[in-house]
Amino acid sequence: MSILPAEFREFAYGDPMKILVIEDDREAADYLQRALSEAGHTVHVAGDGDSGFTLADTGDYDVMVVDRMLPRRDGLSVIAGLRSRGNSTPVLILSALGEVDDRVTGLRAGGDDYLTKPYAFTELLARVEVLCRRANIKDAETVYKVGDLELDRLSHTVRRASREIVLQPREFKLLEYLMRHAGQVVTRTMLLENVWDYHFDPQTNVIDVHISRLRSKIEKGFDSPILHTVRGAGYMLKAA
């Protein structure tokens, strides 16, 4: 039986990754292993901080998922230890502690992203995919291109099929983030965190409204849809 929603599987995922999961809860670890494998990745699991550290130190992983509270050696110390040995593998921290300062200490210890338990698997998968590709990123590129959509980061202009599209500053940032992660699922909370820098959950789903507004600007009058909704997960920018 499949873990991923059907809609999710419609979208082809990028290259398979080698992922290390350090999680002491057997059931949660099994679930993650099954689900991530299903998404096409190779998954290794460590049940405590010590063995996790050894595995991470010797194996060459694309991304790690580390629980914060682990037996023998806690997650933050594992990450800090790896960082001090020059290991820069992207890390997603999983934690039951979700307050602002917990997140700050987690990221300060060397984590790259922070996800609070309980989480939706689609959220975790989207974040892991984005993290992994951060290494070969489009930081240096000044122009992002997806299909016939073009975004110039310097002149702050957006064109589709050579037609200029006028966007509000926030809409520009939103599109910039989506284009930067084109071909990847981006969740609502990821957008809220990265475009608005909010780590709380607004009561009404404000992000959907922003997306539909942006969508009407970049799709209305053009032939093909480019900003897709991934049901049960989020959004994806992808040329048809």
């Binding site: 979700g98 307050e99 602002v100 300062d101 700050v104 309980p118 926030r170 608005w196 909010y198 780590h199 709380f200 959950d201 607004p202 009561q203 009404t204 404000v206 409204v209 922003h210 539909s212 507004r213």
Partner: protein, 480 residues
Amino acid sequence: MRLPASFRTTAARLSALYLLLFGLCAVALVFYMTALSARMLASQTQDTINEEVVGLANAYQRGGLPLLVRTVERRSRQPGANLYLIADANGRILSGNVESLEPGVLDVEGWTERPFSYQRFGEGERRARSAAVPEAPAAESEVRHAAIALVLRMPNQMIMLVGRDLGEPERFRVIVRRSLMAALGIMGLGALLIWFFVGRRALKRIDNVSEASRRIMGGDLSGRLPVTGAGDEFDRLSENLNVMLGRIAELNEGLKQVSDNIAHDLKTPLTRLRNRAEAALGGAPGDKGYREALEATIAESDQLIRTFNAILMISRLEAGYSAEQTAPVDLSEVVRDVVELYEPVAEETEVALAADVPAGMTIEGNRELIAQAVSNIVDNAIKYTAGTNAAPRVTVALEKRGGEIVLAVSDNGPGIPEEADRKRATERFVRLEQSRSQPGSGLGLSLAKAVMKFHGGRLDLEPRDPGLSVIMSFPVGKET
């Protein structure tokens, strides 16, 4: 058992220390005073002797040796007379009222260097006469006195001595010594008394405080330490500890409320969740039915998590959590961002969202918390105003008012007409009857209120005609 305990008190130690210090001071003072007055007496004595010598010199000049001897004889007989002595060159006594003196006194001319002992004429006899039993040597030694004197050698090699008895300074010294002893005795007694009363009193009060704190530790959290009303350091200590106890009781009460709320309000959705799963199991099996039930279950769990997070956050805020997580926050920017975040929602629900936000209003605080509070309030305003009248509108206004920065979110919706309801609206989990149909955990306003309290501000609900104003007042004290 009582006494050793009293000895160990601070009061006893302090009393002993003070006693020692005062004693040392008193002794030093007395010694200084005695030395000073002795020197004064000595110089007085010397002055007197000098005067005598001048008088005698005059007599010698006027009438030679005979007049000098006569003058000496006359003066010697006066009561309380000074000491006079005229001796030949070999030190044999010729005239005067001194019968014998320490050997060697007459050998050195000038002031005698130290007091010497002597015997007056007639004293030995008088003593011998009054004493029935002849105890001469003892009596003799007894009447020897100490004196100082000026020894002069006259031009004809005869020796003249003029001196004065030291009986007076001696008596003075004895008096001083006796009063010193008495004073030290009284001081010691006083110290003992003070220590006894003060120490015991302090001990008793500390015992009272210990007793009260034992009671409180025993579980009586409403108990307080005794305050006598004297306003002294013990009272201040007790008052501060009482304030602390009050704070602890408050936190404890908050904790209890949270657990009550969790028990009551999380159980309801959990029951719903369980019922739904049970119903799905009991109903006709089918992919569609299961799917719907599971989707509803996930949605319900997400809502539960959201509620749970909000409760945790409120209680942590109310416990005054991580005050170090504050920094200067540009309130204008935060408010503008939130308005911008909600603008599309407002447009979609046809609510006119207007903002009057002047730039540069800065406070000390936590951006994330303030943004969350403001977004909860704007969210509510839009949610409860949409579709209630022909031209629904929500205005967000930020302004400096007195010593505060005030953010008012006003709408022209139905508002909350009853004052009691307005008061209840910010309580946890309270969802007024009118709003039961709207989604939400009922924690939005409580969270905003907790955030305001965390920032030292207030959250007030004010009625408008028609509508409601939610007023957030931030203190401007820490403005940068």
